[in-house]
């Protein structure tokens, strides 16, 4: 089974400080790391490979430095790595990024599964994974907490919902985004680190993946950021306590007030 894992290099937010004078984030000297959620994607890919055989290719779009993220993935056991990197990609929003990664995936070809982390910690949009599946026109299962079975070109997985979980079955190829609960990522061994040092990273430009000019970079990015803010916390639910009959009546009364 061939698996593609999409990762992103992000600043290590545990090291980002706030400039006391300007109140801006100080990104200088802050280490870059592999997006923590992507580590779970890598681990799941490696475990599936250990079980079913095949190959794990790790893919990222980013500046040349993003190569470090790919080497880290190789140190953990990924077989191949592709960096899509081109000035023309600068300013990509999630739509353009999804498109670009899809084009690279088309070039990689032969894949059964694409795995992404549920979201990147520097943007928190959670859009790129689903965006890739949409662009490639393949099924997707998001927020996966467990892969139950892969058999006869179908996958069965549990996905987390706000209320509980759902069991979903899909044909392959398919895209998964995974949550933390899915596994406990491994640490690199020395042998792995050594492989990573000498690994050849393929670097593809916009031309290499035959990306349409108007769908990448700023041109391909219709998103306008108006404002960034933390949404207000959900107010606490109301709890009706006491004797059952009494609280049911209270509940009905208060619902009447909302539903006319």
């Amino acid at each position: 089974m061939n698996i593609i894992i999409c990762v992103k290099q992000v600043p290590d937010t545990s090291e980002v400080r706030i400039d006391p004078v300007t109140n801006n984030l100080v990104r200088d000297g802050v280490k870059s790391i592999v997006n923590p959620f992507d580590m779970y994607a890598i681990e799941e890919g490696l475990r599936l490979k250990e079980k079913f055989g095949g190959k794990v290719t790790v893919l990222t779009m980013g500046p040349p430095q993003a190569e470090a993220a790919l080497r880290e993935a190789i140190s953990l056991g990924c077989d191949e790595a592709v960096l899509v990197s081109d000035r023309a990609f600068a300013g990509s929003d999630t739509l353009a990024t999804s498109y670009t990664l899809s084009k690279a995936i088309e070039k990689i070809k032969d894949y059964d599964l694409i795995i992404c982390g549920k979201q990147a910690i520097d943007g928190d949009t959670a859009q790129v994974g689903p965006g890739i599946a949409a662009t490639l026109d393949i099924p997707q299962i998001n927020y996966v907490r467990k892969v139950e079975e892969i058999k006869d070109q179908t996958i069965t997985a549990e996905r987390v919902t706000e209320e509980g979980y759902e069991v979903i079955q899909s044909t392959l190829p398919c895209l998964l985004t995974v949550v933390k609960e899915i596994n406990n990522p491994r640490l690199p061994s020395l042998k792995g680190k050594m492989k990573a040092k000498s690994a050849v990273i393929q670097v593809w430009s916009a031309a290499d993946i035959a990306a349409a000019e108007d769908r990448i970079g700023l041109k391909g990015s219709p998103t306008w950021v108006l404002n960034i803010f933390t949404p207000p916390p959900k107010p606490r639910g109301k709890i009706f306590e006491g004797e059952a009959q009494n609280s049911v009546n209270q509940l009905v009364e208060s619902l009447k007030g909302i539903i006319h």
Partner: protein, 547 residues
């Protein structure tokens, strides 16, 4: 172990501090010059080179220029030349300048710098020269074959608290080399095993240590002159304790404040971290930092026994260099340039041995021979009885030190070699008299351990076996009864907590290993030698960057 997890090289260096890096750089240079393959590899347990490095540091740069004759030394980051220096004797409220400045302590021409930054700088140079550096990997277990050291295992990962493999288990890697260089720094855990196995410390004085606890402060410009070096004696230590403070003007707005406490103290309630906090209440020190902000914290041990505590430096297939061997010159408390020189001389010996395909102890004895011929060895020789002067009383110590200076370091003992006793042997029974004055922590100027610890950046993977090994819990019960658990005081990172049962008042030690800053004091000072420090997962531990 399958061959899949085997790596082979000519020379394996354990520890990427100044000594290990100097070794590797010089070895690579010699190999290149002679058209031989450069096969030297460094394992460093910190996630990034320099992250576990903590020093003063006032450094003598002369050996860097010997190591790197073609490199412009002004490219060493963070260096500032020493402008002014003083030695003060502190009483609780006052400070008296020492009327003379012993030559052995002079820092004329030296530079204040961050050793962590310098180590990263050296690391880049080493890699350019073909040295393979793997950070985030600890040497865990020695591998012996036919009674000889032939390599090390790195640690496994993906183990639960009991040490059982989990789904993310990764096996250790076996690294085999013709020569292994132990450059682990003070109290290296592999070094300790080798010294014991091959009786390398036979007929030597035991090694003795000081724990250096250090903070870096951001201060308004003018609070302390950049390039100023201040050493202090006296407050807050009583006159029967060895130790002292240091304040270095690291840059216009950064000052380094540290306190070193000799671990041969006998009060079981003594707390080296508390000593630094108390030190900062002195008007001289408080005045410097009162409008400042703490930015970094850390602690590390210094081997201070000197020449007579140096073990034999080599055996079949391995050599000990730098702090791992105890190469720190007293009283100037300098080890960096000694470690670099030891690394260079060991590289010469390793190169000859690899070339001759003979790595036996007979061939490697060249290292000790070469080292004995260096000015650094003479530095150690001159102060060979220094630490021995200060085992009882500070004033008496100065008298003995004076005699030492007159007799060229010999002192008054007939053999010319004064004895030392291991630190853990000094421990009085706990009593009310032991209790020290309390520090009024405000976490603005005076930090309790927990608050200070945040500034060490230390972190450990929670899912792993505890890396602080306690041999016997019964011994803990004895220790609590007699000494009231000195571990809760000497550990600068609050790893040991004494908890007492509300009903029976019976004590128990609870461990918080993820707080550990890898200073190794527990391994040294526990009165029953009941604690052994082993490396946690690679990359775990403090994140010092510029200490």
């Amino acid at each position: 172990m399958s061959n899949d997890n085997l790596i082979e090289t000519d020379v394996l260096v354990i520890g990427g501090g100044p000594a290990g890096l100097a070794f590797a750089i010089h070895y690579a240079d010699l190999s290149k010059k002679n058209n031989l393959p450069i096969k030297v590899m460094i394992l460093e347990k910190a996630a990034v080179l320099g992250n576990h490095t903590l020093s003063g540091a006032v450094m003598n740069l002369k050996n860097i220029s010997q190591l790197l004759p073609d490199v412009d030394l002004t490219t060493i980051p963070t260096q500032t030349p020493v402008q002014q220096e003083e030695i003060l004797f502190l009483t609780k409220k006052n400070a008296f300048a020492l009327p003379f400045h012993p030559k052995a302590m002079s820092n004329k021409g030296n530079h204040i710098l961050s050793l962590g930054a310098m180590v990263r700088w050296l690391g880049q140079i080493a890699e350019q020269k073909g040295v393979e550096i793997f950070a985030g990997v600890a040497g865990h277990e020695p591998i012996f074959e036919n009674g000889k050291l032939v390599g090390v295992f790195t640690g496994a990962s993906g183990l639960d608290h009991e040490g059982k493999p989990m789904a993310n288990y990764q096996p250790p890697t076996e690294v085999r080399a013709k020569i292994i260089i132990l450059a682990e720094g003070s109290r290296g855990h592999l070094t300790k095993k080798l010294i014991e196995k091959y009786s390398l410390a036979q007929d030597k004085n035991p090694q003795v240590y000081s724990l250096g606890v250090k903070e870096v402060w951001e201060v308004p410009e003018g609070a302390f002159l950049q390039g100023r070096v201040c050493h202090t004696l006296g407050f807050p230590l009583s006159s029967d304790q060895f130790g002292g403070g240091f304040v270095y003007g690291f840059s216009k707005t950064q000052v380094v404040i540290g306190f070193c406490s000799g671990l041969d103290y006998s009060n079981p309630a003594f707390d080296p971290h508390g000593a630094l906090q108390m030190y900062k209440t002195h008007p001289r020190i408080a005045g410097i930092i009162k409008n400042g902000k703490l930015i970094k914290y850390g602690a590390k041990n210094i081997p201070e026994g000197g020449l007579f505590s140096l073990p034999k430096l080599y055996h079949d297939n391995f050599m000990l260099i730098g702090d791992a061997a105890g190469m720190v010159a007293m009283p100037s408390l300098k080890g960096i340039h000694l470690g670099i020189k030891a690394g260079m001389t060991a590289a010469q010996a390793a190169f000859e041995a690899i070339k001759a395909q003979d790595t036996s102890k007979e061939t490697l004895s060249l290292y000790e021979k070469l080292f004995k011929d260096t000015p650094e060895y003479r530095e150690l020789y001159a102060s060979r009885n220094f630490r021995q002067c200060f085992t009882s009383n500070l004033y008496f110590g100065f008298l003995k030190f004076g005699i030492n200076l007159i007799t060229g370091g010999r002192g008054l003992s007939l053999s010319g070699k004064s004895k030392l006793e291991a630190d853990y042997k000094h421990c009085e029974t706990a009593s009310k008299d032991n209790h020290l004055p309390k520090v009024a922590f405000d976490n603005k100027m005076l930090f309790d351990k927990e608050a200070d610890l945040f500034f060490s950046g230390t972190k450990h993977n929670e899912e792993q076996p505890c890396h602080i090994l306690i041999s016997s819990r019964d011994t803990c019960v004895d220790c609590i009864e007699r000494f009231e658990a000195p571990c809760q005081h000497f550990c600068p990172a609050q790893v040991f907590e004494l908890s007492r049962d509300a009903q029976t008042n019976k004590g128990k030690i609870i461990l918080h290993p993820s707080n550990c800053v890898h200073c190794k004091t527990c391994d040294i000072k526990d009165p029953f030698q009941n604690v052994t420090w082993v490396p946690p997962y690679g990359a775990d531990g403090p994140q010092y960057d510029n200490m």
